[in-house]
Amino acid sequence: MARLRFRFRSIQTHMVLAFTLLILITILAMSIASYYMTKEAVKSNAQVYTAELVNQVNNNIRAYVNGMKDMAELAAGSYVIQNFLSVEAFADPEEELYYKEIISDFLGSMMVSRTDISSVSIFGYNGQFVSGNRDLELNPHIDPTALDWFRSAREAAGQHVISPPHVQPVFKDRYPWVVSLSLELSGKDGTKLGVLLIDLNFSVLNDMLRDIHLGPRGYLFIVDADGNIVYHPQQQLIYSGLKTELIERVLETGSGIFTGEQDGNRRMYIVKDSGFGWKIVGVAYENELVGNQRQIQLSIFLLGIACIVIAAALSLFLSRRIIQPIKRLQKSMQEVEKGNFDIHVPVSGTFETSKLAHAFNIMVSKIRELMWQIVQDQEQKRKSELNALQAQINPHFLYNTLDSIIWMAECNRTREVIQMTSALAKLFRASISKGEELVPVETEIVHIENYLKIQKMRYKNKLDYQIDVDDSLKHYQTIKVILQPIVENAIYHGIKKKKGPGLITITAREEGKDLILRVSDNGIGMDRDTLRALLEPAPPGREGRGVGVRNVHERLQLYFGKSYGLSFESTPGEGTTAYIRFPKIPSAMGGESA
């Protein structure tokens, strides 16, 4: 759980999520926009196409109707027909038959090569009937004058009448579906003679219209001026009341486009007025106008998914690239956390991360420096502690000396008191040296001389000393108060325990870059163990002997390094020699350099 949360809080996850989300939204917006734009484009194309189709159909129908009209004009102007119809009753049946044959041939000739025309016939008001097709007989059970096309031709008085499609029952044994053009015929004198009937095979129109599809479900229908449906592919459904059409709106719309909703489908109606009363209406389902709408949806959807997958992969890759240097940096930081400061992060990757790495490197080196500084400071602190130790030496000696002075004063040895006090004063002057740690060897010699003078006065004939240091060496620098503890040690542990007078000899010599001071006594000497114990750290709680000597050794090593310090040579019964080794530092460049 915690791991998971950690994962969700990682930059990489954030970046991948952010990238993916960003791309998702972008792709979504783009897809939707492009989908709708495509849809609109296709839709308007489809609209144009539908309108063209409707126009085409309109032209075809007009061509049929105009063909019928031309034929009607031709027949109406025929003298033969007029003459024939104007005769009420032929005296001679031969003549009547002759007329009929001529007229039948005439009408028949108009039908030649017109498969769309089912029949051309004339019906005289005196009961005459002639058809262009001689096989046609009248249906004995039907009265032609009662039929719609006959009546309306009569009412129209010389104007063409186009009927809606209907079953033509006037001929025996035939019930064809036709569109009738009827026209009242009249003579030159204006007498009404009869009605001309031209039937157009409705199947011609039907076949033409039925094969027109506006999209998978779109269709075409025709209404006449009264709103009667002339043709509809689902006429049966309309008459059964299973379907309705927006006929009123079609009638309101002269020619044009409107959108209507029916059965929960938005449909586009493209209305075209044919000019002879019919209106041709193309109906297209709006959701089908874009024929391959689903395909477009699917392909855009799939493309979107592909893009998202690619985007996810890419963002993973990119974020890894960005994150990798940061991770490296993090690893290095963990190292630092563990305490390893000796690392250097390679400065690579993006600008920001390289900056970060650079800054980190600087920081680590700073820390390293600071830590070193702290070590230095610590050392410094230790030095000052040593200084304090060193300061401790003097009081010890001081009260011994003062004891001696008191003792001498009590014995009224005034001259000696003066001598001793003067020596003490000189000793202190030499040891104070303005608080500087380094002093010229000369000062140290002065110091030890006065010290020995004081001790000689205390020990009388028991102690003698000899200082033999070349003047050329006296200007070298040394840390102060290094001879006194050694001499003190020689006096207390060498000469004091010896019978008879002791001699302390102090000499100096150069050895390469080093200067060696030599302090030898002819005291009781030391055995090997004592000698070794001399420079080892004192067990806690047991100070005393060797404190001063060790202190000198430590200070020398601290100040000049491990290769410097004290060394002893001793032969029991014969004496001890201490060597003090330190580098030659001329006083001119004397200073607190380490």
Partner: protein, 325 residues
Amino acid sequence: MMAKMKWLAAASVILVAAALGLTDWFHRMTFPRPARVEVIIKTNTMEFWQVLVDGVHVAAEEFKAEVRVNGPRTEADVDGQIAMVEDAIRRKPDAIVLAATDFDRLVPVAQNVIDNGIRLIIVDSGINADIAHSVVQTDNVAAGNKAGRVMQEHLQGPTKVAIISFVKNAASLLDREKGVREVLEGDPRIVRLDTYYVDGSEQNAYSKVMEILRKDPDVTGVIGLNEGTTVGAGKAIRELGLKDRVTLVGFDNSLEEIKFLEEGVLKATVIQRPFSMGYLSIKTAVEAISGKKVPKTIDTGSLVITRQNMYEEENQKLLFPFVRS
């Protein structure tokens, strides 16, 4: 690093799976499998059924169904139809539309349809069991009533009326007979009302009516319960020259019936809307398949056609349908 790789692999697998699933779902939403409907009619030789099948095809196109139409050669071939239904069940369609040739004998096989989880829509003629999801038919009792009322208008009593039924056990014919009898049985002018069966043959109907009219001159009313019986009776009446004395009221329509109407042999015919039946049966089947609630019965209505109204625009379309070639 290993864990990360695993995580990555798992994520991509899930992503791909999700994408595939989504695509599949989208595909199914986008291109739904068309419903498969088996239509078994009574016979495929008569115009009535051709018009009905026309309606089936129009609906199939509109509602995107795959239909397969079958029917025995004659309405009397009940066994043939049962075999066809069994065949259809084996093809595991989503729905079967059935016009039963026999009221009782189709019941077991219809039950079999239901038991196989196939939607059953009854069209035109029902079965003696209330198991179909929907019944699309003319209210034949009401149609029978109409025929009976037309007959009443023409009758002068006392008289005898003969009802000619095509086959014995078809639901549509039983209902029509019932409807006719509901009206005529209460009429005091009618002294005798008999039903004759002609074994599914127009020729038999013709001979039977000839026989009745010759034997009993008191019979002045004949009702043919379907096209075959009406045409058979019409031929007999025309041949005997009895069109002014005998009132013939029929059912359904055909060119021959139209001629009889024009001639006056047939006083009226009660027509159904076979196109609507075919159309609505498929529409209902598709709705039932998609899980919509469908009405238990759908009445497609009937009309009385006489010589006077036969050329009215609406009636023309029903009487002279364009049958798809």
